[in-house]
Amino acid sequence: MITVEHLTKRYGDFTAVDDLSFEIQEGHVYGFLGPNGAGKSTTMNIMTGCLSPTEGSVRIYGHDIFQEPNQAKRLMGYLPEQPPLYLNETPEEYLRFVGEAKGLRGAGLAEQIQAVVEQTRLREVYRKPISALSKGYKQRVGIAQALLGDPKVVILDEPTVGLDPLQIIEIRELIRQLGRDRTVILSSHILSEIQTMCDQILIIARGKLVAFDTPEGLERALLAPSEIALTAEAPANQVEQVLGEIDHIVDTQLTPQADGTVAVKVKTDGDSIYDVSRAIFFAFARRNQALLEISLKKANLEDIFLELTEGTEAAPAPEAQKEVDET
C-alpha cells in the first residue's frame, strides 16, 4: 500500500508536481496517464526515492521513503524511463549486481535470478552483452532488474515507449502477468495502453491529479450519454414518429435540411447503442424510407482525457478511436 500526501516538486518558479495526494491499494494495476511533461516521471522518481519532493511525503507500507529509505525501497522495484543498464555487461552480470545490491546472497540470489529470467524470457540472451540486445530485450532486462528481490510493488515508467508493435504486445503481456501477484504502477501518455492494461487510472495534468477511477467509472462519470447521428430522407414529423417508437432514446434533436432530408442527433442512455441503432435502421426500412447516413459515437476515454487535460500544450496520440461509422 502506498500513500502519497501533498506531494509538491518545484524547480525554481516551475511547479512540476502540484499538491498530489492519492492512495494505492494492493493487487491492482495502476496507470498514470497524462500528456508529456505532466509530471508523471517526476512523481514516480519521488515515489522511488530518486528525487526529493519540495513538500509532502510518500509512505510505502508505512515506511516513509526518506525517513526509512532502505525498508521502503526493498518493497519496490523501479524501471525508470530509460532503463538503467550497464551496456558492457551481460544480463547475467547485471542481474547479479542488482540482486546483491538488494541484499540477496548465494542460493537465494541464484533462485531469484532464475525466476525473473524465466518470467521475462531472457534465457536466450542471458550471456550476450546488453549493448547488443534489441530495445525490447533491453526493456525486459530493465523489468527483470525491477523484479529482483520479489518486491510487492513494481513501478514502470513508460515501459513500452520506443518499442515496435510486436515488442509492445510482449511487454504488455508481461505486465499483465505481473499484475496477477503484485501491485503494478505504470505510466504512459498513450491512452489505449492504459485502458487495456490498468484497472485503476490516475490522470495527471500540469502536475495535478485530475481523475482517479476505473476505466469504466471514468467513462460513466464523465461522458454524456452516447450519441447517434443520422440523416433520414423523410419529413420531420414522420421521423419524429418513427423514433418515438424506439426504446432507450433519451433525447432527439431534429434539423430539417434544405434538400428535404432531416439531420437528427439521438441521445441514448448509453448501454445499448448498437441495439438502438439497429432498431432505428429497421424502423426506417420497414417504412421504406431511406437512411442516408448513420454514425455512432461511443463513450471513449480519449474525450475524457482531452476534456480533463485541456489547456496543456501536448495533445495525446490519436489512438484508441472508438468511433464506428456506418453508412
Binding site: 526529493s52 523501479y78 530509460q82 538503467p84 550497464y86
Partner: protein, 287 residues
C-alpha cells in the same frame, strides 16, 4: 557496499582501465628505478617514488574520470538511487574498488626494494615508509578525482579538470615563489578563494542564499583580519599554496622522515573529498 565494490572492480578489469593504469604506473616507476637504483646505483628507493609521482597527473584521471560521470551519462545513477543502499555506501564501494586497482601494481612495486637489497645495501625502512606515503598520496588523488567525476556527466571534462588540478598541485610549490607575497596580494587571493567556496556551495546545495551568506561571512572575516593585522598576510599566499600541495608533503618521506602529520593530512584530504562526493551525489536528488 560489497555489491558496488565487486561491480566496480569487475568493470575495471572488464575494460582496459585497470590494466592501463597498472601498466603506466609500473612502467614509470620501473624507468626511474632503472635510472636511479640500477644505472646510478643509488641505494634510496624513495627517490624513485619522488620522481615517479608525476605519473599521477595522467593515471589518476584515467582511472577516475568515468567513475560517476559515466553513471550519470548512461542514467544508471537512477538505479543506484532506487536501490536500497545509501549514497555513502555507493561512494565507499566505488572508492574501495579504486584503491584496490591502485594497490595491485603497488604490491608489485613493494617487491623492488627487496630485490635490490639482495644485491647491495638498501634503506628498507625509508623505502617502505615512502611506499606507504606514496600509497596515501595516490589515495588522496583518487578521492579528488572521484569528486571531480561527480561534478559532471562528461568523462573528457572530468579527465581534463583532473589533469589540470593535479598538475597545478604538482607545480604549486614552484609557482608559489612567483606569486605576490605582499599582504595585499594575499588578501585578494583569499577573497577569490572565498568566492570560489561560495560558488562550490551554490553548485552542491543549489541554495543561493546559503552560498551568498557563507561567501559574505568569509570575505568579511578576511577583510576584518586584514584591517586588524595586515602583517600576518605577508607571504600568506605562497604559504597556502605550498600547504595545499600533496606532493610537497611527500618530500618529508623522501628525505627519510616518517611524517605523521602528513599521514593525517592525506587522511583528511581523502575524508574531505569522499564527503564532498557523497554530497555531490546526494545533491542530484534535490536539484
Amino acid at each position: 557496499m560489497t555489491a558496488i565494490f565487486k561491480h566496480e572492480l569487475r568493470s575495471y578489469f572488464h575494460s582496459l582501465t585497470a590494466y592501463v593504469f597498472g601498466a603506466f604506473l609500473l612502467a614509470f616507476i620501473g624507468i626511474w628505478a632503472m635510472i636511479y637504483n640500477i644505472q646510478a646505483a643509488v641505494s634510496n628507493f624513495e627517490y624513485v617514488l619522488s620522481s615517479g609521482s608525476l605519473i599521477f597527473v595522467v593515471i589518476v584521471p584515467i582511472l577516475t574520470m568515468r567513475v560517476i560521470a559515466e553513471e550519470r551519462k548512461q542514467k544508471t545513477d537512477q538505479l543506484l538511487y532506487a536501490l536500497p543502499i545509501t549514497t555513502t555506501q555507493v561512494i565507499m564501494g566505488k572508492y574501495l574498488a579504486l584503491l584496490t586497482v591502485y594497490l595491485i601494481p603497488l604490491a608489485v612495486v613493494c617487491v623492488y626494494p627487496f630485490i635490490f637489497a639482495q644485491f647491495g645495501e638498501v634503506y628498507l625502512l625509508t623505502a617502505y615508509g615512502s611506499i606507504l606515503a606514496f600509497f596515501l598520496m595516490g589515495a588522496a588523488f583518487l578521492a579528488l578525482g572521484m569528486f571531480i567525476s561527480s561534478l559532471t556527466e562528461n568523462q573528457g571534462f572530468a579527465a581534463g579538470i583532473g589533469i589540470a588540478v593535479i598538475l597545478f598541485n604538482y607545480y604549486s610549490v614552484s609557482l608559489s615563489e612567483y606569486v605576490s607575497a605582499t599582504a595585499m596580494g594575499s588578501m585578494i587571493a583569499l577573497l577569490v578563494i572565498a568566492l570560489l567556496v561560495g560558488v562550490l556551495i551554490r553548485h552542491l546545495t543549489g541554495n543561493e542564499n546559503l552560498a551568498f551568506v557563507v561567501c559574505l561571512v568569509l570575505m568579511a572575516a578576511v577583510a576584518v583580519c586584514y584591517l586588524t593585522d595586515s602583517a600576518a598576510f605577508e607571504g600568506l599566499l605562497p604559504k597556502v599554496m605550498s600547504a595545499l600541495s600533496l606532493f610537497e608533503r611527500f618530500n618529508a618521506f623522501v628525505n627519510g622522515m616518517f611524517d605523521l602529520t602528513a599521514v593525517v593530512y592525506y587522511g583528511s584530504v581523502i575524508a574531505f573529498f569522499l564527503f564532498l562526493s557523497v554530497q555531490s551525489l546526494e545533491k542530484r536528488r534535490y536539484n
